[in-house]
């Protein structure tokens, strides 16, 4: 059994596939399939491509006939609808349009009336979704799969590798990980969770046998204006960036669920987010604005899954 590592770049992040196989050729062929699957999802749900599902959905905004989506997209939308309902409307795939007023590269904080204007286009409850027909009633409304397609891709890669006979390995898509299986000798994959205060340090390491782990952090993309930190995580109800938690990591059976949990926790803020995570019952780790670390994985060498 040899371990092959395949680094690649996708979905705007550095990614890596670790897979064990009997021969180099087997590892390479599994990796080729895995990377092709990530690229397929990247192309299919890209905001920037003319031929993507996202673009065709967004172009139909305002059209009362809407669009018909394929099976995979339908199930992703069903999942997003469930997450929206489970999070009191915090997990909202229509919130991407807020990007238009919150341009983090500009260093400019938008005026309240600008936010109000765009907020009229946000809200999954406004969307008419009756599988397979999707209708975005107002022109300018947008769906953004970016909030969960990366985690979904990690799960798909793990599933695909297992379907092709790989039983040991792990895929890391820019910090969202899914395990194919532990090392051949049963050892788990050791995943370091980045410390938001110091880019090179880890604040904890998590041992992953199976399942997936996802992390949301305010340090990934943010801007600091007049000493105030504005993150890229925007509350769809207020249109403003969240505060309270600097980083949340969750371990779940699937990277997709882990990612949804970290997003919802971040959106709930320091106190409610922590309570919600405790109630959810999944292994987790969080750091708040004051640098306090808590959660079931808070011990440096916590066993996760």
């Amino acid at each position: 059994m040899l371990l092959a590592r395949h680094p690649f770049r996708a979905m705007g992040s550095p990614c890596e596939l670790h897979v064990y196989g009997e021969t180099r050729a087997l590892c390479d062929s599994v990796a080729e399939l895995a990377i092709a699957e990530v690229r397929r999802l990247e192309q299919k749900y890209s905001r920037y491509r003319d031929d993507s599902v996202t673009t065709s959905i967004n172009r139909s905004a305002g059209d009362p006939a809407g669009v018909t989506v394929d099976e995979e997209t339908a199930r992703l939308l069903d999942y997003a609808a469930t997450a929206y309902a489970s999070s009191d409307g915090l997990f909202d795939p229509t919130s991407g349009v807020l990007r238009r007023v919150w341009n983090l590269k500009s260093g400019r904080v938008p005026e309240p009336n600008e936010i109000e204007a765009v907020l009229g286009l946000v809200g999954w409850s406004r969307v008419h979704w009756a599988s397979p027909r999707l209708i975005l009633p107002h022109a300018g409304m947008e769906l953004d799969f970016g909030g969960f397609v990366k985690e979904y891709a990690a799960d798909r890669v793990a599933e695909l590798c297992r379907a092709h006979g790989a039983r040991h390995g792990m895929v890391d898509l820019g910090g969202d990980l899914a395990a194919i299986g532990p090392h051949p000798d049963g050892r788990p994959w050791v995943v370091g969770i980045r410390d938001p205060r110091s880019p090179e340090g880890a604040m904890a390491s998590v041992r992953l046998h199976t399942g997936g782990i996802a992390t949301s952090g305010d340090y990934e993309r943010c801007m600091i204006v007049d000493g105030v930190r504005y993150t890229h995580v925007l509350d769809p109800r207020t249109g403003r960036p969240v505060t309270g938690l600097r980083s949340v990591s969750v371990v779940a059976d699937r990277c997709l669920i882990a990612g949804t949990a970290t997003t919802i926790a971040m959106l709930k803020g320091a106190r409610d987010g922590a309570l919600w995570l405790d109630e959810l019952g999944l292994p987790n780790l969080r750091m708040n604005d004051s640098g306090e670390i808590s959660g079931t994985l808070a011990n440096a060498e916590a066993e996760a899954a």
Binding site: Y79, S86, Y152, G211, R254, L256, I257, L280
Partner: protein, 409 residues
């Protein structure tokens, strides 16, 4: 695997997990070519019957009823592995009736069809096996078959394949076929002009290109070539020469044939219908050339019913050596035939088919289809694009009624 979550699985976690489960095992979205993924079986019964020869076209005293064929077909197709599938087609036909023999001139010199005296009762059994191997962007297939009648045996082999380009929007397909046939006419010992044992080989080649035009339409164009060699005449047909001389059907022993087929399919979402159009041009070294135009309209009514009317127009030019009968002076050429199928004529076919689909989720989910179809075909000299001077008297009109049932597991 350790169960995720604490001692009480939260409702949120349960909801998300259930929803995420639906995302598992979604078929790998057709990036690669795949074999069929279910077991398909079907059976069909059809009766073909030709109209009686009109009195004006035949001898007053002879047999005027023509051919009848009852056909039973069965098919099984299933995957074998992740990359291989196969299909098996078995056909059993019972044929009976009289068929055209030769033409004689009437008092005015117009040809009249004489039918074979004793009626034929024959059976044909046919088996065809195909198997395909699938690669990332291509498929390769092998075909083998055997057909047997009282007086005819045929063994055939083929190879076909296709490969895709442009993210599977363009498909190049090709195939090679070989057929080895043996003809042993049943009454060779009683009829002096009958050949005793003959053989024939056919070699064919085809290549085609298909292109997806958009989300709802496709087009394909293909070229075929076939080379026939050996005994290509009809052992039961004769050519009458004025003066009560009867020659056996004498066709060349080679034939090169070319055809060009273009077809188009388009689904019209607004009315839930699909239209198919096709045109074929055919040309061979016997002097026959033909045009075939077909159109079919598949009208769906919801998920369970589909009614398909169709229409077909065919026109052909006669073979170089076609004659109604030979003059007193005898044949002017080495080859001659008065088989109506080599004359100039046109034909119109009308068809209607109904298909009903339903599912039964008993032991396993089975999709059933019940089909009934009717087709009417009429041929005549003046239906041809360029009407012949003299219409072959033996031109046939027929009708086919068929019923079928299929089950997909």
């Amino acid at each position: 695997m350790r169960r995720q979550g604490g001692s009480k699985d939260s409702a949120t976690l349960r909801a998300l997990t259930t929803s995420a489960l639906a995302l598992s095992g979604l078929a790998r979205v057709a990036a690669a070519d795949t074999p069929i993924d279910d077991i398909q079986t079907s059976y069909s019964y059809s009766t073909y019957s030709e109209d009686d020869l009109p009195n004006s076209k035949g001898l007053p005293i002879s047999e005027h009823s023509r051919y009848e064929v009852k056909t039973q077909q069965a098919r099984l197709a299933a995957p074998i592995t992740d990359h291989i599938d196969f299909s098996l087609d078995v056909t059993h036909e019972k044929m009976s009736g009289a068929s055209p023999w030769y033409n004689v001139p009437d008092a005015a010199g117009a040809p009249i069809q004489v039918m074979s005296g004793p009626t034929i009762e024959d059976e044909r059994n046919d088996i065809l096996l195909k198997s395909s191997y699938y690669l990332e962007n291509a498929r390769m297939g092998l075909i083998g078959g055997y057909s047997k009648e009282n007086d005819y045996k045929s063994m055939n082999f083929g190879w076909d394949g296709e490969t895709h380009f442009n993210e599977k929007n363009t498909t190049l397909s090709g195939g090679l076929g070989l057929s080895f046939d043996e003809i042993d006419p049943t009454d060779a010992d009683t009829e002096p002009t009958r050949p005793v044992h003959e053989t024939k080989q056919t070699y064919s080649l085809n290549v085609g290109l298909a292109q997806i035009l958009n989300r709802r339409s496709l087009v394909q164009s293909s070229l075929s070539y076939a080379f026939g060699n050996g005994y290509l005449s009809d052992p039961y047909k004769e050519v009458y020469q004025k003066g009560a001389i009867y020659h056996p059907d004498e066709r060349p022993d080679t034939r090169h044939a070319f055809s060009w087929l273009t077809r188009y399919a388009r689904h019209i979402e607004e009315v839930e219908a699909t239209v198919h159009l096709s045109y074929q041009y055919y040309w061979d070294t016997w002097g026959v050339s033909s045009h075939t135009i077909e159109a079919a309209w598949y009208q769906s009514f919801g998920d369970s019913l589909q009614i398909t009317p169709s229409i077909r127009y065919y026109t052909q030019n006669e073979a170089d050596f076609y004659v109604s009968y030979l003059p007193l002076s005898g044949p002017t050429d080495d080859h001659f035939s008065s088989d109506y199928r080599l004359s100039t004529y046109g034909a119109l076919g009308f068809g209607i088919k109904a298909e009903y689909t339903f599912r039964t989720p008993w032991v396993t989910d089975i999709q059933w289809k019940l089909k009934a179809a009717y087709e009417r075909y009429i041929s005549a000299g003046d239906l041809a694009w360029d009407s012949p001077a003299v219409e072959a008297p033996g031109l046939v009109d027929f009708k086919v009624l068929s019923f079928g049932i299929s089950a997909v597991f």
